[in-house]
Subunit: 300 residues, 2 copies
């Protein structure tokens, strides 16, 4: 998750109390009867300083529960650690008691010592499905983890997105933020579900002057994940420019890697201010430097 | 659990295919949203050869999930291991899908390689509460584990027992068994809930000639657990004789420790055949020997 690295960098540059992260829930799924919110957990664990180096789950994990579950369910394809299970147990237990995901997310963050605000995009279920050529649509994790993001993507379906309401605090955060940053993340499956919620895209348009986007594509390749296959499958150019086009109506600043600086005139012609810098976040200091560049690019 | 040691001994003396264990579910409870059946699990793990030496849970356990749960729920008082959690996750997941506990218990046993038949006493909820002097009734695990079995027991409540039906196979097992053994277990909270089910006690009475009971009390002390406090709290004699009185209508043979052999005439006067032997199961071989004595005491 490029977004997680970026958020960690951001947290080094602004006080936690001033940071609100709005997180995709479209790739939530149920495993072993437990509600798993992979993106929320990655952001929470990252801000708590307990995230695994692998980009998901917790550091210093063990997998005893999962191993024992295999006896009952057969071999697993989605990896959940013993400590991570505690998060899913708590979330599921609270949801069954009727508590909203937004409230539970805040409880988990507080319990793990996170001071920034983490908001699920919605308390209502939105489920991302990926339609591959010649196959029925797959729930996101089945495409991404089980299927290893293989196959020609024809369409992304954001089921429930049009009827889902944004979670409490989401619209207020967009309206009130001094700076809004679209993290370097998959535009379709990570940011797309958030934009699909009623009112969100319109609210971002109104704040366009204060919105910067960071390209998840560097030199024609995604930092991580299947964004290139998706862009290609959907007939778009796999480049920072292709991503910039998706955001031109909602972002006034576009930050992308200096390796792609030849694209600057094209991006400028979209009505966005092009900002080039080193966007490869190979360590926390570099992630913090990128965050600083993005923050400075938004005129005060 | 004296019963677990005894069952392990029994499994060394008769083929697994011929062994049916009817297990109490009155001390089942919900932890972290998961349905935990401590007695079923102890019997299952024992027969699978994966039981912990401590008398509950699994051997070679780790407690990473529980430690992480403490962050959300505060310090735990009921210990659940990482591997053990898999069992509770599977059971709960299957129950939510509408599957009966008896069927799930068979699935878990099969997955763990158990060939004997393990039957929960009922698929309906029965909950054992313990009423201590000056306190409201406590669910069994709160009395036994959280409260460490302290306090003066006034009454045992078996909530739901009169309306619960015995699980499929229970009545058939009692009617068809060549030998029925009441394991050395707490007569009130381990065997009591089973006897309280409609039809069970009457069925045992009809099979009395083929029923042997093994005393859980040796020299005035329980092998394990709070049976002495319960017997005393309920105004009964804390001795093998006190236990024998509870079973006189349903068992024709009473097996107890040779240290208590002075009680033989009193037990005989209850109309039961007294059998004394070494009932201290300090190792599996001794447990098997005790099982053999009990089996031989039932006339073929």
């Amino acid at each position: 998750m490029g977004a997680a690295k970026f958020i960690r960098g951001l947290a080094r540059r602004i006080p936690a109390e001033r940071l609100t992260v709005i997180v995709n829930t479209g790739d939530d799924d149920v495993f072993y009867g437990l509600h798993v919110s992979p993106d929320i957990d990655t952001v929470t664990y990252t801000l708590a300083g307990v995230a695994g180096a692998q980009g998901w789950g917790r550091a210093d994990e063990s997998y005893a529960t999962l191993g024992a579950l295999d006896r009952f369910y057969g071999p697993h394809w989605f990896t959940l650690g013993d400590r991570d299970f505690a998060t899913h147990l708590y979330r599921t237990d609270r949801m069954r008691a009727g508590t909203k995901l937004s409230r539970i997310t805040a409880e988990i963050a507080r319990a793990l010592g996170v001071r920034a605000r983490i908001l699920p995009m919605s308390d209502d279920p939105v489920r991302t499905f990926v339609k591959l050529r010649g196959r029925a649509p797959l729930p996101f994790q089945q495409y991404f983890v089980r299927g290893r993001a293989r196959g020609a993507v024809e369409r992304i379906e954001l089921r429930g997105a049009t009827s889902a309401r944004s979670a409490p605090g989401v619209m207020e955060a967009i309206r009130g933020a001094g700076a809004i940053i679209l993290a370097p993340s998959n535009p379709f499956v990570s940011l797309g579900p958030i934009f699909a919620l009623r009112g969100v895209r319109a609210a971002l348009k109104r704040r366009r002057a204060r919105v910067a986007a960071v390209s998840p594509i560097i030199g024609g390749k995604p930092v991580k994940g299947p964004a290139d296959k998706m862009l290609r499958g959907l007939g778009m150019q796999v480049s920072a420019l292709g991503v910039a086009r998706l955001y031109r109506d909602i972002a006034s600043v576009f930050v992308f890697d200096k390796i792609d600086s030849a694209l600057a005139p094209d991006i400028a012609s979209l009505g966005m201010r092009p900002v080039t810098t080193d966007t490869i976040m190979s360590n926390p200091a570099k992630a913090a430097r990128l965050a600083e560049v993005v923050l400075r690019a938004l005129p005060v």
